[in-house]
Symmetry: C2
DNA sequence: TTGAAAGCGCTAACAC
DNA sequence: GTGTTAGCGCTTTCAA
């Protein structure tokens, strides 16, 4: 199968290649008649311009990359959906890369893309990323880049995230008001700014409400998600927590599993609230109280901002650090029991 | 920031561009010494070859496209994960496109890609796709293409799917053996082969077990997922179903919601089983019996087969129609109640 | 073992 | 309003 190209169209129409090119791009210097003829034949032959040739020539790929730690996660799926809500209209294509929570992979992917394959990158960093040099290198090269959700404050790149600290405060406060005296925080190990923000909100709430029990910050890794021994241990200590604030959906799921195993009743023995974008949280036994992040909006806004950067438009101050609020939904897992 | 290119390397090393190119591609006709020198400088300057130039020249993009109906769906996320498990090692990049269950979008995306942007396509068709002309056109052009999950039998393209009919039979049989007398099938409207296979399995089981009540096939659309009136109606008819086999996860979730609303108890009043890849199904109230599809494996195998086609290797007969078995997990939603 | 040169398909600067 | 031409950065003959 031979591709139709400009040359073929030009020959068929007895025109110069450049004329055909201009006609198809609706240049004002081409006569309506010619445009019509060109478009007709292009349509008939199903002509599609070769993207590599134009990318090479124009030094612009019409492609962006999205780098995320994992994809089997409602939050990131929804983000991609949000991104995809703007890309087709812009004539852009979306490449997906997974870092699998591995700093080295993340750095290599970013390195791999430093050659014009994409016009810009959207990234949510892995939880093993402590060093922002790879991001900084991109920024210094003037490559368009935005960070979302798992951001890093100490680098001068647009951030799109949610009000983590505030919602963590509210979640903890919610547990306090439901009578919890010993509230544990389940976060992700690593130096993620997102974990730190959520932890800070948790600690602030404990302090405000003058909770007697010392804060209990538990930082779990991907391994602890599979092997739940560490989590189990927490519930076997005395006194055991009567409230769990999970900063990560997975750990809420784990908490449910462990509680079932240990015959601890939610919400009677322990109340649970979690950051989660799981649609089905309402169907859990018991229904899980959640803080829902505006994942779709985060994706959409992050993409819009990236396009502004690509198009060299000035960013509004609020676009350099955009905070989209989450929503707390109370359900049975934090209900008061008599 | 100026990109480093072959020309710059060549100049710096006092070599011809072609020599540098060959050295970097480890050609046997370049002396070890030269290779070493070239590699050293390339490393030092962080040289990355311009992908558009090589794609243009070699007529090969090192990129594949994945076209799926939606991404906020565990099954498809897992498929992408499976695909990504093979692409980086092959040096390939992955473009994601969403058809949003819209045939026209699907056709346009496929049309858009007929220009060398990608070396191959993996597709799971939308539920509004009844016409396979767009797929057929690709095949006839000799473009590498594989279809997964939502396949179409009537087109000569490699298919990767699960044993839908068999598992639908087993799911229905499972309900029968748990005492259900009036089993309804909830499927997706449209002419999807996958729905048809699952429906066929359902009907076969009813026939085998000589169920007196007539089959009840309910075909729902995306609208019915949002507005659950149609589903509610089914439970308000007399006699109402005492067993639900949902061919789509979403409709199982809807069933739970509607049952809660109507005060119908699962599994006492109605038992429910569903195709679903939701990790959290075990935490539902009650835990949902599921048929889990090997989504990750489907993605990985489909990608492997696509690469064989791209590399013009012969396919084994079983690779032209690969069926990866699903797994039925019994949980409380189909338990016998006394 | 290395170099020179053509050319992939497109766009854009410069004629006319 | 249309044509001619150069060149994007790379790979690949062909020549030396």
């Amino acid at each position: 199968m031979d591709q139709v190209n400009l040359k073929k169209l030009a020959k068929e129409l007895n025109l110069a290649v450049s004329t055909v090119s201009r006609a198809l791009r609706d240049s004002h210097e081409i006569s309506p008649k010619t445009k019509e003829r060109v478009r007709e034949l292009a349509e008939k032959l199903g002509f599609q311009p070769n993207p590599h040739a134009s990318s090479l020539r124009q030094n612009r790929s019409k492609t962006i990359a999205v780098i995320i730690p994992e994809i089997e996660n409602n939050f990131f799926s929804q983000v991609i959906n949000g991104i995809e809500s703007v890309t087709p209209d812009k004539g852009y294509h979306v490449l997906i890369y997974l870092s699998h929570e591995d700093y080295n992979k993340e750095r290599d992917i970013l390195q791999l893309l430093r050659n014009g394959r994409v016009d810009g990158v959207m990234i949510s960093v892995s939880n093993t990323t402590t060093n922002m040099d790879h991001i900084e290198a991109w920024r210094q090269n003037g490559f368009p880049l935005v960070i979302f959700d798992r951001t890093c404050e100490d680098v001068d790149v647009p951030n799109i995230m949610t009000n983590d600290a505030e919602m963590a405060f509210k979640a903890t406060e919610h547990l306090v008001k439901r009578g919890c005296k010993r509230i544990a925080f389940l976060g992700m190990a690593g130096n993620l700014s997102i974990s730190n923000r959520r932890k800070a909100g948790y600690l602030a709430a404990l302090e405000k409400y003058r909770i007697a029990a010392p804060p209990k910050v538990v930082e779990l890794t991907a391994k602890d998600y599979i092997n739940r021994d560490l989590l189990k241990q927490i519930f076997q200590e005395q006194p055991r927590p009567d409230g769990i604030f999970a900063a990560i959906e997975k750990f809420a799921v784990n908490t449910y599993e462990v509680c079932k195993e240990l015959n601890l009743h939610i919400p009677k023995d322990v109340k649970v609230i979690s950051f989660s974008n799981l649609q089905a949280a309402a169907l859990f036994d018991p229904a899980l109280s959640t803080i829902i992040q505006p994942a779709y909006d985060i994706g959409r806004e992050a993409a819009n901002i990236l396009f502004k950067i690509i198009e060299k438009k000035m960013l509004m101050p609020y676009e350099k650090k955009m905070i989209l609020p989450s929503q707390l939904i109370e359900r049975a897992s934090t209900a008061i029991t008599s």
